[in-house]
């Protein structure tokens, strides 16, 4: 079902953990759908991502895409990090099954959400970045859809 790279990143996730006093933290996804990703960024005064960590609640693909996304943005400046798309994450993992493509989208959103948090805290504007739409508490109170 999964490529060797996905399995490798799932079994040996890179950059898993937390960063205390991170420059930016972003959490996206929804427990209801079974995926939540949180990205911590440590960004220096030159806007270079010095360190990045992630935590993920989700399936094998969700863990692997988060792990790969952190690898792809580490050491980059924020503009370059903005260019890390879900497609790039998927390609770096040698592909995902069709039903798991949304995991890579979530990874992209998580990076953006962390960058948004960083931009807000430091009162700067990052080109092409908009307020993250996903919220982990979204939909929690929603009525169950009728069977």
């Amino acid at each position: 079902m999964y490529t060797e790279k996905v399995m490798d990143h799932f079994q040996h996730p890179r950059n898993m953990g937390e960063i205390e006093n991170a420059s930016g933290v972003g959490t996206v996804g929804n427990a209801k759908c079974g995926d939540i990703m949180r990205i911590y960024l440590d960004i220096d005064e030159n806007q270079i991502i010095q360190d990045v960590k992630f935590k993920t609640f989700g399936c094998g693909a969700a863990v692997a895409t988060s792990s790969m996304a952190t690898e792809l943005v580490k050491g980059k400046n924020i503009k370059e990090a903005m260019e890390v798309t879900n497609k790039a994450v998927m390609e770096a993992l040698d592909g995902l099954p069709p039903v798991k493509v949304h995991c890579s989208l979530l990874a992209e959103e998580a990076i953006h959400a962390a960058l948004w948090d960083y931009a807000e805290k430091h009162d700067i504007k990052i080109e092409g970045l908009s307020k993250p739409k996903s919220d982990i508490h979204e939909g929690e109170e929603e009525e169950e859809e009728e069977y």
């Binding site: 427990a31 209801k32 079974g34 995926d35 935590k55 989700g58 969700a62 069977y147």
Partner: protein, 394 residues
């Protein structure tokens, strides 16, 4: 050989050697069509008659009430569609539950599109149908009640006798999907007031692609497959002779071994539940504690997701299954876990382990030790767990 601990016996079981042995001659030297006149083939009719009788006996039924099918899903489809068809002059209402197998649920939805009305009963937090709900749902137009004997995910056994009694007092037909229960618990169709019962071969160490539908004599039921005169013209097509020979052998074996086998399974299953519940925090046992299938355990581990858990178990040679959405290709977790009131995120973290008689205590110890390690590992990765711990420490 690599380690393999197969704990997914509710999905399917290993075909028993004596079952394979019973089937083999019907592929090779005894290949004849049972409907043929010559004596070479007519022996094949005998095995069908004999195994039909074997199965009927275990249920307290008559052999002409057993109809061979291709398995549980076909039996369920047949029971619902053909009854709806035959009894539509009497009424258009069917009662079933929210925790049925999809072979029932999707057939019921299909019937709804055809103009039938269906009530899907809720269950309590253990997965048990409330009899007062059932009684309240009955209308003058109710033609059929279909409630599964035991649930395939959480193992809960329903009060079938009471449900059957209510159905019969009201003159309503009662069907039960016994795919998981048949061969694991004793069933008597008269004692339980059952009019129709679905069962499948591969859940009881028999072959795949064969099952049966018990239909009580007197129940009006339309043909499911039109054609030849097989199965009293109700289900045409040359009989699956090797399948029937295998199913019969599997049923004989299941009945013969039931007491000893299930006693062993219950003991080990309880040991598994006890160790998991004692040693892995933030874990819930799903399903009824006592009234459950002998080999079934179903847990929800908070803060983690089921597919990730299954992959990690697989790496350790352990086969299980999950009600997580990620294993089904949809966004929603198992309808059964939602029906017993689990929130989505907890339903996503569920694990079903179903034993067989070959599992040893050492196997269970290995599984629990592996589970402890994997659950801790996945929780260390989980933002939900991080938030929970921070909240606890405040």
């Amino acid at each position: 050989m690599e380690k393999l601990i197969y704990l997914d016996n509710a999905a399917t079981t290993k075909t028993a050697p004596e079952v394979v042995e019973a089937m083999l001659p019907y592929f090779t030297e005894k290949f004849g069509n049972p409907s043929s006149v010559y004596s070479f083939a007519s022996g094949n009719k005998d095995v069908i008659t004999k195994q039909r009788e074997t199965i009927a006996k275990t249920l307290g039924a008559k052999s002409n009430e057993i109809y061979f099918t291709a398995g549980g899903s076909e039996s369920d489809n047949w029971a619902l569609k053909a009854t709806a068809d035959a009894y539509q002059d009497k009424g258009n209402h069917i009662i079933t539950t929210k925790i049925e197998h999809h072979a029932i649920l999707h057939t019921a939805e299909y019937l709804e599109k055809r103009g039938f009305e269906v009530t899907y009963l809720d269950v309590d937090e253990d997965g048990v149908v409330r009899l007062e709900d059932l009684e309240a749902a009955i209308r003058p137009t109710t033609i059929l009640i279909s409630v599964m004997f035991a649930n395939n995910e959480i193992g809960t056994i329903q009060p079938i006798k009471e449900i059957g009694k209510i159905a019969h007092e009201k003159g309503i037909l009662f069907h039960t999907d016994a795919v998981q229960a048949f061969g694991q618990v004793p069933i008597d169709v008269d004692e339980y007031h059952i009019d129709m019962l679905s069962a499948s071969g591969h859940k009881l160490n028999g072959p795949k692609g064969i099952g049966f539908l018990y239909i009580r004599k007197g129940v009006k039921i339309r043909s499911f497959v039109h054609g030849g005169a097989q199965e009293r013209k109700r289900r045409a097509g040359t009989e699956n002779v090797p399948g029937i020979a295998g199913l019969g052998a599997a049923v004989s074996r299941a009945v013969r071994t039931m007491e000893e086998r299930t006693a062993k399974e219950i003991e080990l299953r309880n040991y598994l539940i006890e160790r998991v519940m004692n040693e892995i925090p933030y874990t819930k046992l799903n399903g009824h504690r006592e009234n459950r299938l002998p080999n079934n355990a179903n847990f929800s581990f908070r803060f983690i997701e089921g597919e990730a858990l299954l992959i990690k178990l697989d790496m350790k040679g352990i086969c299980g299954s999950s009600g997580s959405a990620c294993t089904s290709g949809s966004l929603d977790p198992s309808h059964v876990l939602l029906a017993i009131g689990l929130p989505h995120e907890i339903a996503h973290g569920s694990l079903r382990l179903t034993l067989n008689e070959e599992i040893s205590k050492e196997d269970i110890d290995y599984v629990v030790d592996s589970l402890k390690e994997i659950v801790a590992d996945l929780r260390s990765m989980s933002p939900l767990y991080e938030d929970f711990i921070k909240k606890e420490n405040k």
